[in-house]
Symmetry: C2
Subunit: 308 residues, 2 copies
Protein backbone atom coordinates (compact mmCIF):
# COMPACT_ATOMS: atom_id res chain seq x y z
CA UNK A 1 0.00 0.00 0.00
CA UNK A 2 1.28 3.43 -0.99
CA UNK A 3 0.47 6.50 1.12
CA UNK A 4 1.60 10.07 1.85
CA UNK A 5 2.17 11.32 5.39
CA UNK A 6 3.23 14.63 6.91
CA UNK A 7 4.72 14.48 10.42
CA UNK A 8 3.87 18.09 11.20
CA UNK A 9 5.11 19.37 14.54
CA UNK A 10 5.53 22.67 16.33
CA UNK A 11 8.82 23.63 14.69
CA UNK A 12 9.33 21.19 11.78
CA UNK A 13 7.50 19.82 8.75
CA UNK A 14 8.58 16.35 7.49
CA UNK A 15 6.72 14.39 4.85
CA UNK A 16 7.18 10.97 3.29
CA UNK A 17 5.92 9.04 0.30
CA UNK A 18 5.69 5.49 1.63
CA UNK A 19 5.15 2.01 0.20
CA UNK A 20 4.96 -1.00 2.52
CA UNK A 21 6.74 0.83 5.33
CA UNK A 22 9.56 1.89 3.01
CA UNK A 23 10.23 5.55 2.27
CA UNK A 24 10.26 6.20 -1.49
CA UNK A 25 10.76 9.97 -1.19
CA UNK A 26 10.88 12.58 1.56
CA UNK A 27 10.85 16.31 2.15
CA UNK A 28 11.56 18.47 5.22
CA UNK A 29 11.21 22.17 5.96
CA UNK A 30 10.99 24.65 8.85
CA UNK A 31 7.25 25.14 8.31
CA UNK A 32 6.23 24.06 11.82
CA UNK A 33 2.72 25.01 12.94
CA UNK A 34 4.06 27.62 15.36
CA UNK A 35 5.34 29.64 12.37
CA UNK A 36 2.00 29.60 10.49
CA UNK A 37 -1.22 31.61 10.57
CA UNK A 38 -4.76 30.31 10.07
CA UNK A 39 -5.34 29.72 6.37
CA UNK A 40 -1.71 29.10 5.40
CA UNK A 41 -1.60 25.35 6.04
CA UNK A 42 -2.97 24.09 2.74
CA UNK A 43 -0.54 26.18 0.72
CA UNK A 44 2.39 25.03 2.82
CA UNK A 45 1.32 21.41 2.42
CA UNK A 46 0.90 21.72 -1.35
CA UNK A 47 4.24 23.50 -1.76
CA UNK A 48 6.00 20.67 0.08
CA UNK A 49 4.01 17.65 -1.21
CA UNK A 50 2.17 18.78 -4.35
CA UNK A 51 4.37 16.77 -6.74
CA UNK A 52 3.43 13.51 -4.94
CA UNK A 53 -0.29 14.31 -5.05
CA UNK A 54 -0.29 14.54 -8.85
CA UNK A 55 1.77 11.37 -9.32
CA UNK A 56 -0.22 9.35 -6.76
CA UNK A 57 -3.86 10.32 -7.23
CA UNK A 58 -5.16 7.34 -5.20
CA UNK A 59 -2.72 7.41 -2.26
CA UNK A 60 -4.26 8.15 1.14
CA UNK A 61 -2.87 11.33 2.78
CA UNK A 62 -2.38 11.46 6.56
CA UNK A 63 -1.27 14.31 8.83
CA UNK A 64 0.21 13.56 12.25
CA UNK A 65 1.24 15.72 15.22
CA UNK A 66 0.60 19.28 16.36
CA UNK A 67 -1.05 20.02 13.00
CA UNK A 68 -4.18 18.75 14.75
CA UNK A 69 -3.85 20.98 17.82
CA UNK A 70 -5.61 24.24 18.59
CA UNK A 71 -2.62 26.04 17.06
CA UNK A 72 -2.63 23.80 13.95
CA UNK A 73 -4.61 23.50 10.70
CA UNK A 74 -7.83 22.20 12.24
CA UNK A 75 -8.36 21.17 15.86
CA UNK A 76 -8.76 17.38 15.89
CA UNK A 77 -10.44 16.50 19.23
CA UNK A 78 -8.66 13.90 21.36
CA UNK A 79 -9.83 10.29 21.13
CA UNK A 80 -10.11 8.61 24.54
CA UNK A 81 -8.11 5.63 25.84
CA UNK A 82 -8.24 2.70 25.53
CA UNK A 83 -7.80 3.26 21.78
CA UNK A 84 -6.43 1.26 18.88
CA UNK A 85 -6.26 1.83 15.11
CA UNK A 86 -10.05 1.55 14.78
CA UNK A 87 -10.88 4.25 17.36
CA UNK A 88 -8.12 6.52 16.08
CA UNK A 89 -9.17 6.17 12.43
CA UNK A 90 -12.78 6.83 13.40
CA UNK A 91 -11.76 10.14 15.04
CA UNK A 92 -9.68 11.39 12.10
CA UNK A 93 -10.61 14.84 10.79
CA UNK A 94 -10.63 15.53 7.02
CA UNK A 95 -9.15 18.71 5.54
CA UNK A 96 -9.61 19.58 1.88
CA UNK A 97 -6.38 19.68 -0.16
CA UNK A 98 -7.81 20.48 -3.63
CA UNK A 99 -9.74 18.73 -6.42
CA UNK A 100 -12.15 17.29 -3.88
CA UNK A 101 -9.35 15.28 -2.26
CA UNK A 102 -8.98 15.08 1.53
CA UNK A 103 -6.08 14.64 3.87
CA UNK A 104 -6.87 13.10 7.28
CA UNK A 105 -5.55 14.46 10.56
CA UNK A 106 -4.72 11.68 13.04
CA UNK A 107 -6.21 12.75 16.41
CA UNK A 108 -4.30 12.84 19.68
CA UNK A 109 -5.33 10.81 22.71
CA UNK A 110 -6.75 11.69 26.13
CA UNK A 111 -6.62 9.42 29.15
CA UNK A 112 -7.06 9.36 32.91
CA UNK A 113 -3.84 7.70 34.04
CA UNK A 114 -5.17 7.68 37.62
CA UNK A 115 -8.45 8.83 39.25
CA UNK A 116 -8.83 12.64 38.99
CA UNK A 117 -5.77 12.85 36.72
CA UNK A 118 -5.64 13.85 33.05
CA UNK A 119 -3.11 13.35 30.30
CA UNK A 120 -2.85 13.98 26.56
CA UNK A 121 -0.59 13.06 23.64
CA UNK A 122 -0.50 14.17 20.02
CA UNK A 123 1.75 12.31 17.59
CA UNK A 124 3.16 9.62 19.87
CA UNK A 125 -0.05 7.52 19.50
CA UNK A 126 0.94 6.72 15.92
CA UNK A 127 4.51 5.70 16.85
CA UNK A 128 3.21 3.57 19.69
CA UNK A 129 0.81 1.68 17.42
CA UNK A 130 3.81 0.87 15.24
CA UNK A 131 6.12 -0.13 18.08
CA UNK A 132 5.51 -3.85 17.62
CA UNK A 133 4.43 -4.10 21.27
CA UNK A 134 1.09 -5.88 21.69
CA UNK A 135 1.15 -6.08 25.48
CA UNK A 136 3.66 -4.22 27.64
CA UNK A 137 5.17 -0.88 28.55
CA UNK A 138 6.68 1.63 26.13
CA UNK A 139 8.78 4.69 26.94
CA UNK A 140 8.87 7.50 24.38
CA UNK A 141 11.63 9.97 25.48
CA UNK A 142 11.70 13.63 24.49
CA UNK A 143 10.86 17.07 25.80
CA UNK A 144 7.79 15.48 27.39
CA UNK A 145 8.58 11.77 27.79
CA UNK A 146 5.59 9.45 27.74
CA UNK A 147 5.10 6.01 29.31
CA UNK A 148 2.43 3.96 27.59
CA UNK A 149 0.85 0.59 28.44
CA UNK A 150 -0.36 -1.56 25.55
CA UNK A 151 -3.04 -4.23 25.89
CA UNK A 152 -4.14 -6.45 23.00
CA UNK A 153 -2.43 -4.07 20.54
CA UNK A 154 -4.34 -1.02 21.78
CA UNK A 155 -3.18 1.93 23.90
CA UNK A 156 -4.52 1.25 27.40
CA UNK A 157 -3.28 4.34 29.27
CA UNK A 158 -0.23 6.60 29.49
CA UNK A 159 1.52 9.19 31.64
CA UNK A 160 3.60 12.15 30.48
CA UNK A 161 6.55 13.65 32.36
CA UNK A 162 7.93 17.16 31.76
CA UNK A 163 11.53 15.96 32.25
CA UNK A 164 13.12 17.43 29.13
CA UNK A 165 11.36 20.77 29.41
CA UNK A 166 12.29 20.97 33.10
CA UNK A 167 15.96 20.41 32.27
CA UNK A 168 15.85 23.31 29.79
CA UNK A 169 14.00 25.57 32.25
CA UNK A 170 16.60 24.95 34.95
CA UNK A 171 19.54 25.65 32.67
CA UNK A 172 18.13 28.60 30.77
CA UNK A 173 15.98 30.47 33.28
CA UNK A 174 16.76 29.31 36.83
CA UNK A 175 19.44 30.11 39.39
CA UNK A 176 19.77 26.33 39.88
CA UNK A 177 21.63 25.83 36.60
CA UNK A 178 23.62 29.07 36.68
CA UNK A 179 26.84 27.68 38.23
CA UNK A 180 27.11 24.98 35.52
CA UNK A 181 30.30 25.02 33.43
CA UNK A 182 31.52 23.19 30.34
CA UNK A 183 32.99 20.86 29.20
CA UNK A 184 30.50 18.64 31.02
CA UNK A 185 31.75 15.70 33.06
CA UNK A 186 29.33 12.86 32.16
CA UNK A 187 29.98 11.20 35.54
CA UNK A 188 27.41 13.66 36.91
CA UNK A 189 24.58 11.71 35.23
CA UNK A 190 25.08 8.67 37.45
CA UNK A 191 25.46 10.86 40.55
CA UNK A 192 22.06 12.36 39.70
CA UNK A 193 20.58 8.89 39.24
CA UNK A 194 22.03 7.95 42.65
CA UNK A 195 20.31 10.92 44.31
CA UNK A 196 16.99 10.08 42.63
CA UNK A 197 17.22 6.45 43.76
CA UNK A 198 17.84 7.50 47.36
CA UNK A 199 14.65 9.58 47.00
CA UNK A 200 12.56 6.71 45.57
CA UNK A 201 11.42 5.33 48.90
CA UNK A 202 12.82 1.93 47.89
CA UNK A 203 16.30 2.20 49.45
CA UNK A 204 15.42 2.78 53.09
CA UNK A 205 16.44 6.46 52.87
CA UNK A 206 13.80 9.02 53.81
CA UNK A 207 12.30 10.79 50.84
CA UNK A 208 13.26 14.48 50.72
CA UNK A 209 11.55 15.62 47.51
CA UNK A 210 12.66 16.72 44.06
CA UNK A 211 12.32 20.46 44.81
CA UNK A 212 14.87 20.05 47.60
CA UNK A 213 17.28 17.89 45.58
CA UNK A 214 17.32 20.48 42.78
CA UNK A 215 18.25 23.27 45.18
CA UNK A 216 20.80 20.95 46.79
CA UNK A 217 22.57 20.51 43.45
CA UNK A 218 23.23 24.25 43.27
CA UNK A 219 24.13 24.36 46.97
CA UNK A 220 26.70 21.60 46.47
CA UNK A 221 28.41 23.64 43.74
CA UNK A 222 28.39 27.05 45.45
CA UNK A 223 29.66 25.51 48.70
CA UNK A 224 32.52 23.79 46.89
CA UNK A 225 31.18 20.23 47.39
CA UNK A 226 30.53 19.46 43.69
CA UNK A 227 32.54 20.51 40.64
CA UNK A 228 30.57 22.90 38.42
CA UNK A 229 31.15 20.77 35.30
CA UNK A 230 29.20 17.92 36.94
CA UNK A 231 26.09 20.06 37.42
CA UNK A 232 24.39 19.75 34.00
CA UNK A 233 24.69 15.96 33.73
CA UNK A 234 23.76 15.70 37.42
CA UNK A 235 20.51 17.60 36.81
CA UNK A 236 19.80 15.40 33.77
CA UNK A 237 20.34 12.26 35.85
CA UNK A 238 18.31 13.56 38.78
CA UNK A 239 15.32 14.46 36.59
CA UNK A 240 15.50 11.22 34.59
CA UNK A 241 15.76 9.23 37.81
CA UNK A 242 12.80 11.06 39.33
CA UNK A 243 10.78 10.28 36.18
CA UNK A 244 11.73 6.60 36.60
CA UNK A 245 10.66 6.66 40.27
CA UNK A 246 7.18 7.79 39.25
CA UNK A 247 6.81 5.68 36.11
CA UNK A 248 8.05 2.43 37.67
CA UNK A 249 5.78 3.01 40.67
CA UNK A 250 2.61 3.74 38.71
CA UNK A 251 3.21 1.08 36.05
CA UNK A 252 4.22 -1.57 38.62
CA UNK A 253 7.81 -2.11 37.61
CA UNK A 254 7.28 -4.10 34.38
CA UNK A 255 10.07 -5.60 32.31
CA UNK A 256 11.04 -5.35 29.52
CA UNK A 257 10.35 -1.74 28.49
CA UNK A 258 10.45 -0.78 24.81
CA UNK A 259 12.23 2.53 24.26
CA UNK A 260 11.06 4.49 21.23
CA UNK A 261 14.21 6.48 20.57
CA UNK A 262 17.51 6.42 18.71
CA UNK A 263 20.92 6.61 20.40
CA UNK A 264 22.29 8.50 22.30
CA UNK A 265 19.00 9.45 23.98
CA UNK A 266 17.84 5.84 24.12
CA UNK A 267 21.17 4.80 25.70
CA UNK A 268 20.62 7.09 28.72
CA UNK A 269 17.23 5.50 29.41
CA UNK A 270 18.65 1.99 28.91
CA UNK A 271 21.40 2.71 31.46
CA UNK A 272 19.03 4.27 33.94
CA UNK A 273 16.53 1.40 33.65
CA UNK A 274 19.24 -1.29 33.83
CA UNK A 275 20.22 0.08 37.26
CA UNK A 276 16.66 -0.65 38.41
CA UNK A 277 16.78 -4.17 37.02
CA UNK A 278 14.53 -3.39 34.05
CA UNK A 279 15.39 -4.91 30.65
CA UNK A 280 14.91 -2.77 27.56
CA UNK A 281 14.59 -3.08 23.82
CA UNK A 282 14.97 -0.19 21.37
CA UNK A 283 12.79 0.72 18.40
CA UNK A 284 13.49 3.55 15.95
CA UNK A 285 10.82 6.27 16.06
CA UNK A 286 10.76 6.63 12.28
CA UNK A 287 10.25 2.92 11.71
CA UNK A 288 7.51 2.96 14.33
CA UNK A 289 5.81 5.96 12.69
CA UNK A 290 5.53 4.25 9.33
CA UNK A 291 4.36 0.97 10.87
CA UNK A 292 1.79 2.83 12.98
CA UNK A 293 0.37 4.66 9.98
CA UNK A 294 0.13 1.40 8.07
CA UNK A 295 -1.85 -0.12 10.97
CA UNK A 296 -4.21 2.87 11.08
CA UNK A 297 -4.81 2.58 7.33
CA UNK A 298 -5.14 -1.24 7.24
CA UNK A 299 -6.90 -2.07 10.51
CA UNK A 300 -8.61 1.22 11.19
CA UNK A 301 -9.66 3.04 8.10
CA UNK A 302 -10.47 -0.06 6.09
CA UNK A 303 -12.90 -1.42 8.65
CA UNK A 304 -14.98 1.70 8.22
CA UNK A 305 -14.59 2.03 4.45
CA UNK A 306 -13.08 5.52 4.61
CA UNK A 307 -13.16 7.05 1.14
CA UNK A 308 -9.42 7.35 0.52
Amino acid sequence: MRFIVADWGTTRFRAYLVEDETILDEVASEDGVSALQTGQHRDVFLRNCGRWLGAEPDAPVLLVGMVGSREGWVMAPYATCPAGPVEIARAMIPVEIGNGRNAYIVPGLFCEPAPKAADVMRGEETLVLGSGVRDGLICSPGTHPKWITMKDGRIERFATYMTGEMYSLLLEHSMIGRPATEPEDPAGFDLGLDAAERNSGATGDRRVGLLHLLFGARAAVVSGHMKPNLLRPYLSGLLTGDELNGALSQFRHPSPVTILADPPRADLYMRALARRGVETTMRSPRTALLAGLTRILREGAMTQGQAF
Copy 2:
Protein backbone atom coordinates in the same frame (compact mmCIF):
# COMPACT_ATOMS: atom_id res chain seq x y z
CA MET B 1 21.95 47.64 73.59
CA ARG B 2 21.95 49.89 70.55
CA PHE B 3 23.14 48.59 67.14
CA ILE B 4 22.95 49.28 63.41
CA VAL B 5 22.05 46.54 60.91
CA ALA B 6 21.67 46.39 57.15
CA ASP B 7 19.50 43.57 55.78
CA TRP B 8 21.16 43.65 52.37
CA GLY B 9 19.68 41.31 49.79
CA THR B 10 19.86 40.72 46.06
CA THR B 11 17.38 43.44 45.08
CA ARG B 12 16.80 45.54 48.23
CA PHE B 13 18.75 47.40 50.91
CA ARG B 14 17.02 47.88 54.30
CA ALA B 15 18.77 49.22 57.39
CA TYR B 16 17.67 49.80 60.97
CA LEU B 17 18.93 51.64 64.03
CA VAL B 18 17.86 49.32 66.85
CA GLU B 19 17.68 49.49 70.63
CA ASP B 20 16.54 46.46 72.65
CA GLU B 21 14.79 44.91 69.63
CA THR B 22 12.93 48.16 68.93
CA ILE B 23 13.50 50.06 65.68
CA LEU B 24 14.42 53.70 66.38
CA ASP B 25 14.95 54.65 62.73
CA GLU B 26 15.01 52.90 59.37
CA VAL B 27 15.97 53.42 55.75
CA ALA B 28 15.28 51.42 52.55
CA SER B 29 16.52 51.69 48.96
CA GLU B 30 16.82 49.69 45.77
CA ASP B 31 20.59 49.26 46.24
CA GLY B 32 20.51 45.43 46.22
CA VAL B 33 23.84 43.69 45.65
CA SER B 34 22.84 42.60 42.15
CA ALA B 35 22.81 46.28 41.09
CA LEU B 36 26.31 47.04 42.45
CA GLN B 37 29.88 46.60 41.23
CA THR B 38 32.93 45.68 43.29
CA GLY B 39 34.08 48.76 45.23
CA GLN B 40 30.68 50.48 45.41
CA HIS B 41 29.39 48.86 48.61
CA ARG B 42 31.00 51.15 51.19
CA ASP B 43 29.73 54.29 49.48
CA VAL B 44 26.22 52.87 49.22
CA PHE B 45 26.28 51.90 52.88
CA LEU B 46 27.54 55.32 53.99
CA ARG B 47 25.00 57.16 51.83
CA ASN B 48 22.16 55.17 53.45
CA CYS B 49 23.44 54.91 57.04
CA GLY B 50 26.13 57.59 57.45
CA ARG B 51 24.01 59.83 59.70
CA TRP B 52 23.58 56.99 62.25
CA LEU B 53 27.31 56.26 62.30
CA GLY B 54 28.15 59.80 63.41
CA ALA B 55 25.41 59.90 66.05
CA GLU B 56 26.20 56.41 67.42
CA PRO B 57 30.00 56.09 67.41
CA ASP B 58 29.95 53.02 69.70
CA ALA B 59 27.08 51.03 68.13
CA PRO B 60 28.05 47.70 66.57
CA VAL B 61 27.31 47.51 62.83
CA LEU B 62 26.11 44.22 61.29
CA LEU B 63 25.41 43.28 57.68
CA VAL B 64 23.10 40.35 56.87
CA GLY B 65 22.14 38.54 53.66
CA MET B 66 23.52 38.33 50.15
CA VAL B 67 25.96 41.14 50.94
CA GLY B 68 28.18 38.27 52.15
CA SER B 69 27.88 36.20 48.97
CA ARG B 70 30.29 35.93 46.06
CA GLU B 71 28.29 38.70 44.34
CA GLY B 72 28.30 40.91 47.48
CA TRP B 73 30.74 43.22 49.30
CA VAL B 74 33.08 40.52 50.57
CA MET B 75 32.55 36.76 50.37
CA ALA B 76 31.87 35.55 53.91
CA PRO B 77 32.50 31.76 53.90
CA TYR B 78 29.66 29.59 55.18
CA ALA B 79 29.80 28.43 58.80
CA THR B 80 28.89 24.75 59.21
CA CYS B 81 25.91 23.30 61.10
CA PRO B 82 25.26 22.71 63.90
CA ALA B 83 25.78 26.42 64.60
CA GLY B 84 24.51 28.89 67.19
CA PRO B 85 25.27 32.55 67.92
CA VAL B 86 28.81 31.70 69.05
CA GLU B 87 29.83 29.87 65.85
CA ILE B 88 28.15 32.47 63.66
CA ALA B 89 29.77 35.41 65.46
CA ARG B 90 33.14 33.67 65.24
CA ALA B 91 32.80 33.42 61.44
CA MET B 92 31.79 37.06 60.91
CA ILE B 93 33.92 38.97 58.38
CA PRO B 94 34.89 42.61 59.07
CA VAL B 95 34.72 45.29 56.37
CA GLU B 96 36.14 48.76 56.94
CA ILE B 97 33.55 51.57 56.90
CA GLY B 98 35.82 54.57 57.65
CA ASN B 99 37.72 56.07 60.60
CA GLY B 100 39.03 52.65 61.51
CA ARG B 101 35.53 51.40 62.26
CA ASN B 102 34.36 47.97 61.05
CA ALA B 103 31.02 46.53 60.05
CA TYR B 104 30.65 42.74 60.44
CA ILE B 105 29.12 40.51 57.80
CA VAL B 106 27.06 37.69 59.32
CA PRO B 107 28.05 34.48 57.46
CA GLY B 108 25.62 32.06 55.87
CA LEU B 109 25.39 28.41 56.88
CA PHE B 110 26.27 25.14 55.16
CA CYS B 111 24.90 21.76 56.18
CA GLU B 112 24.54 18.17 55.02
CA PRO B 113 20.81 17.58 55.49
CA ALA B 114 21.34 13.92 54.54
CA PRO B 115 24.40 11.81 53.58
CA LYS B 116 25.90 13.05 50.27
CA ALA B 117 23.54 16.05 50.24
CA ALA B 118 24.44 19.73 50.57
CA ASP B 119 22.48 22.83 51.47
CA VAL B 120 23.17 26.51 52.15
CA MET B 121 21.38 29.57 53.54
CA ARG B 122 22.35 33.22 53.78
CA GLY B 123 20.22 35.56 55.88
CA GLU B 124 17.66 33.08 57.26
CA GLU B 125 20.17 31.93 59.93
CA THR B 126 19.73 35.26 61.72
CA LEU B 127 15.92 35.12 61.63
CA VAL B 128 15.95 31.55 62.84
CA LEU B 129 18.14 32.40 65.84
CA GLY B 130 15.53 35.03 66.75
CA SER B 131 12.51 32.79 66.21
CA GLY B 132 12.12 31.99 69.89
CA VAL B 133 12.32 28.26 69.07
CA ARG B 134 14.87 26.44 71.23
CA ASP B 135 13.98 22.91 70.07
CA GLY B 136 11.70 22.17 67.14
CA LEU B 137 11.05 22.72 63.45
CA ILE B 138 10.84 26.09 61.69
CA CYS B 139 9.57 26.82 58.19
CA SER B 140 10.80 29.98 56.47
CA PRO B 141 8.68 30.45 53.28
CA GLY B 142 9.84 32.42 50.26
CA THR B 143 11.34 31.96 46.81
CA HIS B 144 13.45 29.18 48.33
CA PRO B 145 11.57 27.99 51.44
CA LYS B 146 13.73 26.53 54.18
CA TRP B 147 12.90 23.96 56.88
CA ILE B 148 15.19 24.21 59.91
CA THR B 149 15.54 22.02 63.00
CA MET B 150 16.66 23.72 66.23
CA LYS B 151 18.35 21.88 69.10
CA ASP B 152 19.34 23.60 72.34
CA GLY B 153 18.91 27.00 70.67
CA ARG B 154 21.32 26.19 67.83
CA ILE B 155 20.63 25.42 64.17
CA GLU B 156 20.98 21.63 63.83
CA ARG B 157 20.31 21.16 60.10
CA PHE B 158 18.04 22.46 57.36
CA ALA B 159 16.69 21.73 53.88
CA THR B 160 15.82 24.22 51.16
CA TYR B 161 13.09 23.77 48.53
CA MET B 162 12.90 25.71 45.25
CA THR B 163 9.10 25.92 45.46
CA GLY B 164 8.65 29.65 44.88
CA GLU B 165 11.18 29.85 42.07
CA MET B 166 9.63 26.79 40.41
CA TYR B 167 6.20 28.42 40.48
CA SER B 168 7.62 31.49 38.71
CA LEU B 169 9.50 29.36 36.16
CA LEU B 170 6.34 27.43 35.27
CA LEU B 171 4.23 30.56 34.83
CA GLU B 172 6.79 32.74 33.06
CA HIS B 173 8.82 30.35 30.91
CA SER B 174 7.03 26.99 30.58
CA MET B 175 4.23 25.63 28.42
CA ILE B 176 2.76 24.20 31.65
CA GLY B 177 1.54 27.59 32.87
CA ARG B 178 0.57 29.00 29.48
CA PRO B 179 -3.16 28.10 29.56
CA ALA B 180 -3.63 29.89 32.92
CA THR B 181 -6.19 32.71 32.96
CA GLU B 182 -7.21 35.37 35.46
CA PRO B 183 -9.03 36.17 37.70
CA GLU B 184 -7.71 33.16 39.60
CA ASP B 185 -10.11 30.81 41.34
CA PRO B 186 -8.45 30.16 44.73
CA ALA B 187 -10.22 26.77 44.96
CA GLY B 188 -7.39 25.48 42.76
CA PHE B 189 -4.95 25.67 45.68
CA ASP B 190 -6.72 22.90 47.60
CA LEU B 191 -7.08 20.80 44.45
CA GLY B 192 -3.31 21.05 44.06
CA LEU B 193 -2.79 20.06 47.70
CA ASP B 194 -5.10 17.07 47.08
CA ALA B 195 -3.00 15.92 44.14
CA ALA B 196 0.23 16.27 46.14
CA GLU B 197 -1.25 14.27 49.03
CA ARG B 198 -2.26 11.43 46.70
CA ASN B 199 1.41 11.46 45.57
CA SER B 200 2.83 11.38 49.10
CA GLY B 201 2.84 7.61 49.46
CA ALA B 202 0.76 7.98 52.64
CA THR B 203 -2.73 7.60 51.15
CA GLY B 204 -2.48 4.18 49.53
CA ASP B 205 -2.35 5.71 46.03
CA ARG B 206 0.65 4.82 43.90
CA ARG B 207 3.16 7.63 43.60
CA VAL B 208 3.33 9.06 40.08
CA GLY B 209 5.90 11.84 40.48
CA LEU B 210 5.87 15.64 40.45
CA LEU B 211 7.11 15.90 36.83
CA HIS B 212 4.01 13.95 35.72
CA LEU B 213 1.56 15.87 37.91
CA LEU B 214 2.83 19.18 36.50
CA PHE B 215 2.26 18.04 32.92
CA GLY B 216 -1.11 16.63 33.98
CA ALA B 217 -2.22 20.06 35.18
CA ARG B 218 -1.75 21.47 31.69
CA ALA B 219 -3.31 18.37 30.12
CA ALA B 220 -6.41 18.78 32.30
CA VAL B 221 -6.88 22.33 31.03
CA VAL B 222 -6.23 21.74 27.31
CA SER B 223 -8.53 18.69 27.35
CA GLY B 224 -11.32 20.66 28.98
CA HIS B 225 -11.18 18.80 32.33
CA MET B 226 -10.03 21.80 34.44
CA LYS B 227 -11.01 25.46 34.14
CA PRO B 228 -8.04 27.61 33.13
CA ASN B 229 -8.56 30.04 36.04
CA LEU B 230 -7.86 27.17 38.46
CA LEU B 231 -4.43 26.45 36.97
CA ARG B 232 -2.24 29.02 38.78
CA PRO B 233 -3.54 28.28 42.29
CA TYR B 234 -3.48 24.56 41.43
CA LEU B 235 0.22 24.74 40.57
CA SER B 236 0.88 26.70 43.77
CA GLY B 237 -0.94 24.06 45.83
CA LEU B 238 0.73 21.17 44.03
CA LEU B 239 4.24 22.58 44.56
CA THR B 240 3.55 23.55 48.19
CA GLY B 241 2.11 20.11 48.84
CA ASP B 242 5.09 18.40 47.24
CA GLU B 243 7.40 20.49 49.45
CA LEU B 244 5.39 19.32 52.48
CA ASN B 245 5.66 15.68 51.37
CA GLY B 246 9.45 15.96 51.40
CA ALA B 247 9.84 18.13 54.49
CA LEU B 248 7.45 16.12 56.68
CA SER B 249 9.14 12.90 55.56
CA GLN B 250 12.71 14.00 56.19
CA PHE B 251 11.93 15.86 59.44
CA ARG B 252 9.71 13.04 60.77
CA HIS B 253 6.39 14.83 60.90
CA PRO B 254 6.99 17.06 63.94
CA SER B 255 4.36 19.33 65.47
CA PRO B 256 4.07 22.22 66.02
CA VAL B 257 5.95 24.00 63.23
CA THR B 258 6.89 27.68 63.62
CA ILE B 259 6.26 29.62 60.39
CA LEU B 260 8.53 32.62 59.88
CA ALA B 261 6.27 34.70 57.66
CA ASP B 262 3.55 37.31 57.70
CA PRO B 263 0.05 36.78 56.26
CA PRO B 264 -1.10 35.96 53.60
CA ARG B 265 1.91 33.76 52.80
CA ALA B 266 1.96 32.26 56.29
CA ASP B 267 -1.78 31.48 56.01
CA LEU B 268 -1.24 29.21 52.99
CA TYR B 269 1.36 27.16 54.89
CA MET B 270 -0.86 27.02 57.98
CA ARG B 271 -3.75 25.68 55.89
CA ALA B 272 -1.59 23.17 54.07
CA LEU B 273 0.00 21.91 57.30
CA ALA B 274 -3.31 21.76 59.15
CA ARG B 275 -4.56 19.27 56.53
CA ARG B 276 -1.65 17.00 57.50
CA GLY B 277 -2.48 17.32 61.20
CA VAL B 278 0.45 19.62 61.96
CA GLU B 279 -0.10 22.54 64.35
CA THR B 280 1.58 25.85 63.55
CA THR B 281 2.56 29.10 65.20
CA MET B 282 3.52 32.27 63.36
CA ARG B 283 6.41 34.62 63.98
CA SER B 284 7.05 37.87 62.11
CA PRO B 285 10.31 37.80 60.10
CA ARG B 286 11.24 41.34 61.08
CA THR B 287 10.80 40.67 64.79
CA ALA B 288 12.84 37.49 64.40
CA LEU B 289 15.62 39.36 62.56
CA LEU B 290 16.08 41.89 65.37
CA ALA B 291 15.93 39.20 68.05
CA GLY B 292 18.44 37.08 66.15
CA LEU B 293 20.91 39.95 65.79
CA THR B 294 20.60 40.69 69.48
CA ARG B 295 21.44 37.05 70.26
CA ILE B 296 24.48 37.12 67.96
CA LEU B 297 25.72 40.31 69.65
CA ARG B 298 24.98 39.20 73.24
CA GLU B 299 25.73 35.47 73.22
CA GLY B 300 28.12 35.30 70.32
CA ALA B 301 30.27 38.36 69.93
CA MET B 302 30.60 39.09 73.63
CA THR B 303 31.96 35.66 74.46
CA GLN B 304 34.89 36.37 72.16
CA GLY B 305 35.41 40.02 73.09
CA GLN B 306 34.91 41.31 69.54
CA ALA B 307 36.11 44.89 69.34
CA PHE B 308 32.79 46.61 68.60
